[in-house]
Amino acid sequence: MTELGIVDIREIIRAIKSFYDYDFGNFALTSFKQRLERLMIRNNLSNADSLIKKLRDEPDFFDIFLYEISVPSTEMFRDPSLWRWLREDLLPSSIEKSIGKYKIWLPNCVSGGELFSLMILLSELGLTDKVSVAASAFSNRSIEIIREGHYDLKKIEVSTENYIRANGSAAFTDYYKLDRYYAFRDTSLIRNIEFNKLNIHLDNAPANIKLILFRNNLIYFNPTLQDRILTVLNNSLSASGILIIGIKEKISGFASGKDFDIVNEAESVYKKRIIG
């Protein structure tokens, strides 16, 4: 396959905008180019024109496109120190204080790594019944994969190490089954989850959320879109609601940054600022 040039990428973005009214124009260029090239190799497409043609002629392929453009979490319990802090500090105290169910939102689930990590933690804390968790995804394919419990074998070893570092209280093997060449997660963990598909700009985001987990997603946007999405997330949070982003994602410098206070700098945890 030939490498995509900037002109090719602009053409692809323009075509998707015209076919599906999705605007990838503010995605970070380098990673978007890599995702496109990876998707083309996986689908035997040799150039930008063949990708555009397939997107035009096969509406079902657009869902695959959305799935493959998204980057799944690298592993479960990534950054164990954050998960320890959630386990020992934030979740028990906040959920205890919550009047009504404590609402948690994961705006972009791709493979379910982050969602299952959260549900394991809540289950071990005995707090599953006191929360309501909304899981959004950009593609139906992601929702399918998560619901069916598909689990990438390659990620088990590092996830197990993370789980132990995060002070998991059971054995990590309790949460998945091996079936020859595949691994399946314990899907009873997600039986009460509400799944929904959102577009890449998170239009129709839920409201009154107490905690948003959106780690390592902003890195795939340029600063214009990062700022816009941070505003969307802020609007979704209830007063003093918590936003957790990736440890190398920072919100200082954005206009939307002034709407948040820092809670835990090392783990990139922010709180919606109370106006007034």
Binding site: V71, T74, D79, Y220
Partner: protein, 185 residues
């Protein structure tokens, strides 16, 4: 010559070499230094501090979309790929490992080559896998300067010999020669 950045990749056996290079650069080094070094993914802190002890220029682990500045070194953070985006910015990524590595030297070199073309200096140091070989080829193909540490001097030769198999390097240099080259730009 009008270079815009130097990028250095290394793995096992490269720490001492990088330390020596950073301690020999002038405080007013005219361009940014990008460092992509293999490291433990779950150890987030300590590496920058260790490299900084003797460095003449400040080193940081950039946040996503940070602007690159001359006279500073940027170390790829643990468990992230570090890309060079257009407009002189860093972009981080959690995409799949490449050559079993995240950060991957290939990805940092390829994206830097795309951003700086012939105005990039790429240097591959001691290391235990072939990550970086393809990236250095890309630097060379884009017209940049490809430098490989002399394998005879490397603690572990795999990375440098793999790079030399794939690319006709502009220079095969000892650590001291690399330093003299950088001091002159």
């Amino acid at each position: 010559m009008n270079y815009k950045a130097v990028i250095i990749g290394g793995s096992a056996g490269s720490f001492q070499v990088v330390t020596k290079i950073l301690s020999s650069l002038p405080k007013t080094f005219p361009i940014p230094v990008l460092l992509c070094l293999h490291r433990l993914k779950h150890v987030r802190s300590g590496f920058v501090e260790a490299l900084s002890l003797k460095s003449n220029i400040p080193i940081e682990e950039p946040n996503d979309k940070d602007q690159l500045k001359p006279g500073k070194a940027y170390l790829a953070p643990a468990n992230y790929h570090m890309y060079i985006e257009l407009a002189n910015r860093i972009a981080l990524s959690t995409e799949d490992v490449v050559n079993h590595s995240r950060p991957s030297i290939d990805l940092s070199f390829i994206t830097a080559a795309n951003a700086y073309r012939e105005k990039l200096i790429g240097i591959i140091l001691s290391g235990a896998n072939k990550d970086g070989a393809f990236g250095l080829k890309k630097v060379h193909d884009c017209g940049g300067i490809a430098i490989v540490q002399d394998p005879n001097e490397c603690e572990v030769k795999t990375m440098t010999t793999s790079a030399l198999q794939l690319t006709k390097a502009d220079f095969v240099y000892s650590t001291d020669q690399i330093i003299r080259f950088l001091q002159k730009i």
